[in-house]
């Protein structure tokens, strides 16, 4: 019977895919097959509700699993292949889709079957818009981490089988695997955020934002430019579609113009306040409250007012 196949090299994400897959299973009435890279992962996926788990062995580099996953999908007559939307996952998904001569939807936010096609929604134009798309089956989909809740172990008794992955590409050598050190701030979970943008003239002036953040008990966030071009703040503090999405009760920006990609990351904030010199800056259209002015004059005034 044509089925649903799921895979992520990160098992926490694979368990989220089980939830997405079980949702599809309810309408498609197809079996749910998961691919795992370790025995522990395979057991967890079976317990969480996968009807069948294939334990793929003999391949150290997840990207090298694309070929065996594509072969498995073809053999299982998989109609929908869900892959966790990590960088590795997106690489694998594109290769699997190419091998199966199938379409690939990247970072789908919703998935359903409608009129024998896979119907999905995803962001477009840097988060400015949502596109609803239909893809012919078989279809490959990547799903970003935390899009679905993790499936919990519920006494599932899926069958686990083992499959040896063949070969790998002799032209490719992988070395120097190195974890990226995080500096421990979780902007996505912060209740209040003071965000700095290119309106800030130099790194030393961050103290202005830090003083305000202290008065507000807020964390400092920034735009992509401040983190990736100027390197004034670590990358995990930048807010936007390709950075952190925040859910703060208060977001206050200083010298942020409000590019589409940044605004996409602050949409879920409860109250948005903007300070910028340019009255026409798009940040004001996205804000609840705005002050048109020089952050060097306004920020210390806000700090003083809040201290009272």
């Amino acid at each position: 019977m044509p089925g649903i196949l799921i895979f992520s090299e990160n098992n926490a994400i694979a368990l989220e895919l089980v939830t997405a897959g079980l949702g599809l299973k309810a309408t498609m009435n197809h079996s749910l097959c998961a691919v795992a890279l370790s025995e522990a992962d395979a057991t967890a996926l079976a317990a969480a509700g996968a009807d069948k788990v294939v334990l793929l062995t003999g391949q150290d580099w997840p990207e090298g699993c694309a070929q065996p996953i594509a072969e498995l999908a073809a053999r299982e007559l998989a109609a929908v292949i869900l892959i966790g939307g990590t960088a590795r996952g997106k690489d694998i998904a594109a290769k699997v889709a190419n091998e199966l001569d199938a379409g690939l939807v990247t970072e789908a936010q919703t998935i359903e079957i409608a009129e024998d096609k896979l119907q999905t929604t995803r962001l477009k134009y840097g988060g400015l818009a949502v596109a609803c798309e239909a893809t012919v089956l078989p279809a490959v989909v990547t799903i970003a981490p935390r899009t679905f809740d993790k499936a919990v172990a519920g006494g599932g008794q899926g069958q686990i089988t083992s499959l040896a992955a063949t070969g790998g590409d002799p032209r490719v050598k992988v070395s120097e695997l190195c974890p990226i050190e995080r500096q421990g701030v979780d902007i996505a979970a912060a209740a209040r955020i003071v965000c700095v943008g290119r309106g800030l003239a130099k790194k030393e002036d961050l103290t202005l934002a830090e003083d305000l953040a202290k008065a507000l008990s807020a964390e400092i966030g920034c735009t992509r430019g401040i983190a990736e071009d100027y390197h004034w703040l670590p990358v995990e503090r930048y807010i936007g579609i390709s950075g952190q999405n925040i859910k703060a009760e208060l977001y206050l920006s200083l010298g942020v113009s409000g590019q589409v990609q940044h605004v996409a990351g602050i949409r879920d904030a409860k109250v948005i306040v903007a300070v910028d010199t340019n009255e026409k800056a798009p940040i004001f259209a996205a804000a609840d409250y705005g002050i048109v002015g020089d952050l060097y004059e306004v920020a210390p005034l806000i700090t003083a007012a809040l201290k009272k």
Partner: protein, 259 residues
């Protein structure tokens, strides 16, 4: 001497797209085209290799008729020659079609020692053309590359993968996709802009690529596109003295219960 191909997409500038609040439709009328931001990093990386070790750099793009406007901008950024496939089919193309078209074009104009793409396009950001292109050409893909070297017929790249980095070495040609932090694209100098006018561009007709109707039919079709409508209060405090504006802001935040 190495031969490099860089792929780019000519996209609408998303900063100029407006969302009509009434029906969430998109107003594209004021949006101009630009070279997709991520592809500027791909172009810059190819040109840095060209300058560093004397490679030749071809560029290729697949787009609608508007893509012809991109040629001068592209050439002023350093590539030696640009191939373009201008066809309305591009407007409905998905990653499957685009990678298929680029793969056949690259076979026609190559072979290449290295093919460089951006990590995704600024408009659709599907992030699939580079690995699909690699698979179609039977070459290894190295995606999400933050630093890149070409040495003695080997491609050596450091990948950035969210929580880790790794080094991938490929013997022989490869397709890579680069992340924005790999370099800072230069702003073309007047000299480069003038030199661009003398560089060759060549049109490749889609009909000459020998693709079947099936290969040109998108697997994914767009049903609707709707803009995000921000429902915000949009209160601007505009007193002449900033102290008054700050006092009003503090009062408003107190009323919201966030201060």
């Amino acid at each position: 001497m190495s031969k490099i191909l860089v792929c780019y997409k000519w996209v609408l500038d998303e900063q100029d797209i407006r969302v009509n609040a009434a029906d969430a439709s998109l107003d594209l009328s004021r949006a101009k085209y630009k070279i997709s931001d991520y592809d500027k990093n791909a172009i810059e990386e190819a040109v840095l290799l060209q300058e560093g070790q004397g490679a030749t750099v071809d560029a290729v793009t697949f787009g609608g008729d508007a893509v012809r406007q991109s040629l001068k901008d592209l050439l002023s950024r350093g590539p030696d020659k640009v191939y373009y496939i201008a066809d309305p089919a591009a407007d409905k193309a998905d990653g499957y079609v685009t990678a298929g078209v680029l793969a056949v074009a690259a076979r026609k104009t190559g072979p290449y020692d290295l093919i460089i793409c951006g990590e995704g396009s600024a408009d659709a950001y599907n992030q699939q053309v580079a690995p699909r292109l690699a698979a179609s050409l039977g070459l290894p893909a190295i995606t999400y590359v933050q630093s890149l070297k070409l040495e003695d017929g080997r491609v050596v790249a450091t990948r950035k993968l969210g929580d880790c980095t790794e080094v991938v070495t490929v013997e022989g040609p490869a397709v890579v996709s680069v992340v924005p932090e790999i370099n800072k694209p230069r702003i073309p100098s007047l000299k480069q802009v003038l030199a661009a006018a003398k560089k060759p561009s060549e049109e490749i007709k889609i009909a000459d690529l020998g693709l079947s109707p099936r290969q040109l039919a998108a697997k994914t079709v767009t049903l609707t596109v709707k803009g995000f409508v921000m429902n915000r209060k949009n209160v601007l405090f505009k007193e002449p003295a900033q102290a008054d504006n700050v006092a009003k802001l503090a009062a408003a935040l107190a009323k919201e219960g966030v201060c």
